[in-house]
Symmetry: D2
Subunit: 341 residues, 4 copies
């Protein structure tokens, strides 16, 4: 017998150990009764326990009936990183059940990787290191043929959600002119963040560096195609941080191969690409194996955010840290669920 | 016959085309009479022309007699980047001749390279790219074993002159705890720049990232030796941006080889190192062939600074952009002059 | 006949001319069909028009039946500044009708007034001006007995919503130590804004300046009482910017009268206070007749925010600028509606 | 017998107690042998003591002979706030004696007063308080007829030395467009501080707020005359923080009297003005009796700066905190010495 609130825990493909620091996990276990289960076994829980559950941590498939049985539910916390079409969101909204997601934890690590990639591309950090090890380094000014500064340059950010904002924040010290494009936000919100609203075309045509941070949606597949790359500044850097589907990948690689632009990407249409995938051998690129956000410290911040918001909801207050699913947009997302972290 | 002020120009190893944009060079030629010469031929100029010269652009060897002959001289502008012991500085100070240097132009490009190197080390950007091309990349979380964030971390800056300040400025968006050590500055000046004054020992023992930006002086040769590296945090990044002489290079490489720390360096005791120099094959390092500051846009800013300050001095005002040699410190510097840009 | 979306407009006590610039109002009229009415006449609209209305601008009393008749309603936009208990919010939430408010427009003007008051109190700007006009000014150091700097000082902000954040933003250049107390937010959110989470007691005991920006709620009436003022630093400044009910007014005035603290207030328990109200003659105070937010430019920003969010909602996207009523908190607010602007 | 360095101390019109905190004064006395004297008695010191003196704290009249007798002198530290024409500066420069001044301590307090005055003018803080006490306050929007926001506005700073920079720093949180005019600085230095270089005319014609921070020089007497005020925006605020001589005072008062502009001033042509001086009764003004910089905490920072720089000079390093007299400009200043603090 306990009077601690009941939390159903089905965090697959995460584990509690992954999304909590040891201290936070101890606090979570101390303050709540956890029913640790898997998605396909939730339906088998006793009805009185389902009715008692205050929170659900995880993003299991949920039928309308099952959700209906969870009569005391206040929030569902997605710990995967993307909303998928596997639960009756509308019923949640009607009942005032918050559907929350901790994806913001990835913004900072991905933004740092993105900035590191941009600097590495513009200053040839990786290729010059390889050349040095091979004994063919070029010294001083001669080795800086295509080098560019970010400071004082024009930088574009496509998508201005958590990740785009994190990229912009890291640029604070660069005195750059930052342009942002986000069709889901009014220009005023962009200006409030100190960036200049711009069309995608203006960003492509005028920026030395373009960070792609937009989530993939029903509308923006292959937003960046051969025509888009053709409009970019010669020698500009294109940094793909969000999802491969937003880009015509062969067109992007071709633009890099021809030396028109430099490309860095953390994501690929198929992960991993095959051994003979041209991505592996295209020059003027920088490749990262979906590692930008997957830091242990990032995952562990999920637990902190979760504890903070459960505390608020326990006190009858709205959550303040996790992001909420929106009625208007939850159905527009097109990310595939990940099978591993 | 002209009434434009006379400038003796002996910029070797730079050229005017290197240190001016075309527009700025046209303005320079328009506003001044330039006597373009080389260091060893200045003495051969007619005495009345020497007497007439208002400025000397370059850092040629100057005897006391030759300086004495330049009776109208207001300033000497070093465009190499370091003061060397080849002219009678004391006589300049007595006569109120400003001895100026444009080394600040290198601060921003070197700082960007330094930040890029730090991000590349902490996120394995270069080595993971090499692995990806070789078909042995590791995906997601598994590929991030030693990854660290700069955001929210503790970062040390050794030397807080132009370069140290530029590094600190680039860190503005990282919400990091920045510690700085500079024995030539009081703690209050460091605090005014928003960094925490610290001892070198505290920086070594507690920082995840250490940027070395200190000029080499009579006192700080081999400031970083085996004992220093042994005190550093396991896995910390050591970024050498200033001069190789400040470091015990074999000790630094050994610390990297043993995996204790990660090292990036833009400078080497001998440049280039021999083909079999161990620096070329040490793991956990990132190598750059003295390329951090040698950007065309950096050199070309020299001309802008020079024109600005000549304009001020023409108006009887003190220079405001170029840095002045100081009586106290000009003799303490130990940089070797560079033979090429 | 029109195919523009129908908006029911009942903005009393505002007018459209007050909450829109002329250009924005023209755009509003161009893009929407406006049915301009008053709160008590909405129920008399033809049922088909009620069913057709996409938005309601204003905060009229709404019965459940009337709301039920507005079957196409997507959002209600409160232009008064506080939510009041005069409509069936729960039904709105269930139906996904956004209940929005433009109160953020007041944050910036109120924050500026607050900072101006703080500087005026600490530097005796108003009282020294009065003394100067009366010929009894005190010069230089002698006239600065109780003067304090904000720069480098410890400053407390009570309540960290739109207004508290605006105050904090204005303090960006002061290098102050800013503490914030907000029981509705986790410490992490405060830290993300660069302020130190603190208890109310710590703020009272240690800050030289305390800005009160918290909305009045069911829980915080007379949060600042005689005991609270007794804990404050001698000579500290107490700036009341939100609602008079949060303070024991006589106790506040008494603390000022005794010279323990300095007080500035923009709000009063009864407005206006009677002619002989002691507030009018208490020394060490600075009085403002509920003028801090009531700027024409502030009201006119309401229209911009409204147009931005209607544009988003027209496109099937969630609003991004106006603040939403929350199920958890909309019933906790206790502000009286204003009868005039 | 002592081996502590000798410091001649003649700080009139300051005292050591005024320019040092007790702790700093104890440290000063501990580390140095102080010869406390007055300006007209220095010449009477024994020659061997004069020869021994390493530093002189104060700004006494010094003859060439007397300076010549101080053969070991490294620095003269002016603690008054302005250089005056009472010592052989050229001989100091030739000998490498630093002539230093602690005037930077006043920048922060004066800037805070200036910002407080600007906010008070634009929001009628002082006059509305007076009206409230007199029972004639005007509530809400009606009481804000001429109110303006600094946020997002255009602000001019005339003179961009320590004080102008301090004003600009305080404006960091206001998202304002800051223009600066300073004929002694190139545009690039202004841009480096994040302000837009502008002509005086552009500032006068376009800014809502103008801060005058320029020192009075040989060239800028009555820089602001009737024609200048006539060009200002109606309702703009003119904040005079530096010296009265830079302004045609009757013209300034007349512009305020006619309601064209609002004026705040901390300085007056004669201090104090006579009892019937029109300055005392001009409407639309805010008057301060030369109190902006005269804070005890400001004076006491002089001692900290002095100790820091003496420490550096003791170590053979150049001073880093106090400002140095410049050969080019030291003779251009026209401030009268102050007779009291």
């Amino acid at each position: 017998m306990t009077d601690r609130p009941l939390v159903i825990v089905a965090p697959h493909p995460r584990t509690l150990e992954m999304i909590f620091t040891p201290d936070a996990l101890a606090a979570f276990r101390e303050r709540y009764e956890l029913w640790e289960t898997s998605g396909d076994e939730i339906a088998a829980l006793p009805p009185e326990r389902l009715a008692e559950a205050r929170y659900l941590v995880g993003q299991p498939d949920l039928s309308a009936d099952l959700l209906g049985a969870m009569t005391g539910l206040r929030a569902i916390v997605n710990v995967e990183g993307n909303f998928t079409d596997n639960m009756p969101y509308t019923a949640c909204f009607e009942r005032g059940i918050h559907v929350l997601i901790a994806s913001a934890v990835f913004a900072e690590p991905v933004a740092e990787m993105g900035l590191g990639m941009a600097l590495a591309l513009h200053r040839s950090i990786a290729s010059a290191d390889a050349d040095f090890r091979a004994g063919r380094e070029v010294w001083g000014l001669d080795g800086n043929g295509s080098a560019r500064l970010l400071s004082g340059s024009r930088i574009g950010i496509v998508g201005f959600g958590d990740l785009g904002r994190a990229v912009n924040r890291l640029l604070a010290g660069f005195r750059a002119e930052v342009l942002a494009f986000d069709p889901w936000l009014p220009a005023s919100v962009l200006r409030d963040h100190g960036v200049a609203p711009a069309s995608l075309d203006e960003i492509l045509r005028t920026c030395d560096t373009v960070f792609v941070t937009a989530a993939i949606t029903a509308e923006n597949g292959h937003l960046f195609d051969a025509a888009a790359f053709a409009r970019m500044q010669p020698g500009a850097a294109f940094i793909l941080l969000s999802r491969a589907g937003i880009v015509d990948f062969p067109a992007m690689l071709e633009a890099a191969r021809r030396g028109r632009i430099k490309v860095a990407t953390d994501v690929f249409p198929e992960e991993p690409p095959t051994a003979d995938d041209p991505a592996r051998s295209t020059p003027n690129t920088l490749l990262s194996a979906h590692r930008a956000g997957a830091l242990d410290v990032a995952f562990q911040r999920m637990g902190d955010m979760l504890l903070d918001d459960l505390t608020l909801m326990d006190a009858g207050l709205p959550p303040a840290r996790l992001r909420r699913a929106e009625r208007e947009t939850v159905g527009r997302m097109r990310s595939k669920p990940v099978s591993k972290s």
